[in-house]
């Protein structure tokens, strides 16, 4: 369980995170989405006590991270893949981290095996590919068998096989009842992995919703109808919340009605249909739409303000 309350972080005049409140529940994978520079990494660093919030509070499993006696057992984190001394072997890196909380050597071997680095564990981490670095980062996150797992962009640099592996790993971690909090800037990836979404833009919360809900709300589904009787069908479908457009003869794009409703109406009026298909707007488009709004939301007040001052000066 992760709880952020009015979390704010300023670096000089720049606000990285502003008044961010959310809760991440155990048992599901929660995606932390936002464009680059939205404040995801800063938020994660504050969760781990690496950065001190300017104001607000971050609590993990009921306490501030730093107040846990055995933090690696509470929270396993990978903030950036390259939080590893390049001159040290993967094995020794994990062994040193494990030693801080008395985790035995056998567990180090276990996590190495788990992430598939057994062949290179005795090689220096400086020579690792990005994907191997990610796997090592995930190994260190799992070292303490933690109740909460925080991963910053874990699929970065992984090949398709690795991405699938992470996806399954995250789901199995959540299925075991753990809190799994994963950041990404890729909506498509999160749609496959996460059940819940926390979306940020410019350091502010934009949405805190389930993936299902997000998809339903953010995208207006349309139905494509191909029929030789387009004009007659259009007349029958018209209603208060219905919009119908037609870009080519014999094809209608209907929003505000489900394909079932359209199909029934057509049957009632004995209109022949050649094609009836629901078209879902892409999640990526919906996500971009949403975060673009956040950017505009930030930009517009400033512009309005300058207009106002110009107005009063004139």
């Amino acid at each position: 369980m992760i709880e952020a309350t009015a979390l704010t972080k300023r670096y000089g005049p720049k606000t990285a995170v502003e008044d961010l409140s959310f809760a991440v529940k155990p048992g599901v994978v929660t995606g932390f989405l936002g464009p680059n520079g939205a404040g995801k990494s800063t938020t994660m660093r504050m969760l781990l006590g690496l950065d001190t919030p300017t104001s607000g509070r971050a609590v993990v499993n009921g306490k501030s991270y730093a107040d846990h006696a055995a933090p690696l057992h509470e929270v396993g984190a990978m903030l950036e893949a390259r939080a590893i001394h390049t001159g040290r072997t993967a094995f020794n890196h994990l062994l040193a981290l494990a030693a801080t909380t008395g985790i035995p050597r056998s567990r180090v071997d276990e996590v190495i095996e788990l992430v598939g680095l057994a062949d290179v564990a005795k090689k220096r981490a400086g020579g690792f590919s990005l994907g191997m670095g990610q796997r090592l980062g995930i190994a260190s996150a799992l070292l303490g068998d933690p109740a909460t797992v925080i991963l910053d962009e874990p699929v970065n640099g992984l090949d398709p096989e690795g991405i699938l592996w992470i996806r399954n790993l995250l789901k199995s971690l959540a299925a075991e009842g753990r809190t799994v909090f994963v950041s990404s800037h890729l909506m498509s990836e999160m749609a496959l992995t996460a059940e819940h979404l926390i979306i940020v833009g410019r350091g502010r919360l934009i949405a805190d919703t389930s993936v299902e809900e997000f998809t339903r709300q953010a995208s207006t589904n349309t139905v494509r109808v191909r029929t030789p009787d387009a004009e007659r069908l259009r007349e029958q479908l018209v209603g208060p919340d219905v919009t119908i457009t037609s870009e080519e003869a014999g094809v209608l794009t209907v929003s505000g009605l489900s394909s079932e409703q359209i199909g029934r109406t057509a049957a009632e009026h004995q209109v022949v249909l050649f094609e009836l298909a629901t078209q879902q707007a892409s999640l990526e488009e919906a996500f971009m739409e949403l975060t673009r709004d956040a950017v505009e939301y930030q930009a517009i007040p400033a512009a309005t303000r300058s207009n106002v001052t110009e107005g009063t000066a004139a």
Binding site: R45, L48, G49, L50, D51, Y65, A66, A70, P71, L72, H73, A77, L79, E80, R82, A83, I84, H85, T86, G87, R88, T89, N92, H93, L95, A96, L97, A99, T100, T101, G102, I103, P104, R107, E110, E113, L114, S140, L142, L143, G144, D145, L164, W165, N168, L169, K171, S172, L173, A175, E176, A191, L192, T193, S210, V211, T215, Q280, S282, L283
Partner: protein
């Protein structure tokens, strides 16, 4: 990618996802508190698992012994040509451990790297996540590096001493470890080197950058005395003995020179400078964002 995935398909983990279950959670990852001794163990693992550690320490030891042999061979060789005054003041013990001047470079750099190596690679964030109270990391690093340096520098000083004396014995100008003040010179050199190392660790923690840390350490130790010499000579005499390196090096000579602090006074002052730097490092480590 051709078909748009519906959000309801979040359970497409399949058999691969299930098979991971059994290995993620393991009884071997027992819960344990972070303690100072565990952090010490962790830092010891880190210290001994880097190639640069061995290389740098080897350079320091080899330089000390090598320079001892060279300096004492040269002294013995030139002995009959030396003026009487110089012969009278000859410090057989000090001459044999003069290699510390070089060894302190290696040890100062390694001290800085003990901390800045973690900052430059990003490792520090893993370290501080594991030990969020942070200060145990600084204490552990100082204990590991200070302990190793003290032992190694003591051994190197002793070996240098005996190697040097064996060179000097050709002219029968050698001294022995039982002679008055000699143990203080030999082990005092080890103490001085250890303090230089700890100064490096603390400066590394303050600057968080390898070049910055090295520049600060050697700026304080070597450049400060040089700058002082550009000032009027009365200043040199009054301020000079209190500079960190001059104070600390009082421990490494048999006969205290004019305008030099007494051996243990100087050592105490140098230790004080190091302690102040450590306190600053601790406060900054605790306060700053990692």
């Amino acid at each position: 990618m051709s078909s748009r995935p519906s959000p309801a398909t979040t359970l497409d983990g399949g058999p691969a996802g299930r098979s991971a279950d059994s290995t993620v959670s393991a009884p071997t990852a027992r819960s344990g508190k972070v303690t100072q001794s565990r952090v010490l163990n962790s830092e010891w693992i880190k210290f001994r698992s880097l190639r640069s550690t061995y290389l740098t320490l080897l350079i320091a030891v080899a330089a000390m012994i090598g320079i001892a042999l060279l300096a004492c061979w040269a002294a013995a060789n030139r002995w009959n040509h030396l003026p009487m005054a110089e012969r009278a003041n000859f410090d057989a013990a000090g001459r044999s451990i003069d290699g510390y001047v070089f060894a302190q470079l290696a040890i100062g750099v390694l001290g800085v790297l003990v901390i800045t190596g973690e900052y430059s690679t990003g490792m520090i964030r893993a370290t501080l996540s594991a030990v969020p109270r942070r200060l145990p990391v600084l204490w552990a690093k100082m204990a590991v590096f200070g302990g190793v340096t003290l032992v190694l520098a003591s051994v190197a000083s002793l070996l240098s001493f005996f190697a040097g004396q064996s060179m000097l014995s050709s002219q029968h100008i050698q001294t022995t470890l039982s002679a008055s003040g000699v143990p203080r010179v030999v082990f005092g050199t080890a103490i001085y080197l250890t303090l230089v190392g700890l100064f490096g660790v603390a400066m590394g923690a303050v600057t968080r950058s390898t070049p910055g840390g090295i520049a600060s350490v050697f700026g304080m130790l070597f450049v400060l005395p040089l700058i002082l010499h550009a000032l009027p000579s009365s200043w040199v005499d009054n301020i000079g003995p209190y500079l960190p390196s001059n104070a600390g090096q009082a421990l490494t000579v048999l006969h205290t020179e004019p305008h030099q602090l007494a051996p243990w006074t100087g050592a105490g002052l140098f230790a004080g400078y190091v302690a102040v730097t450590v306190v600053i490092a601790a406060v900054l480590l605790k306060r700053r964002d990692a």
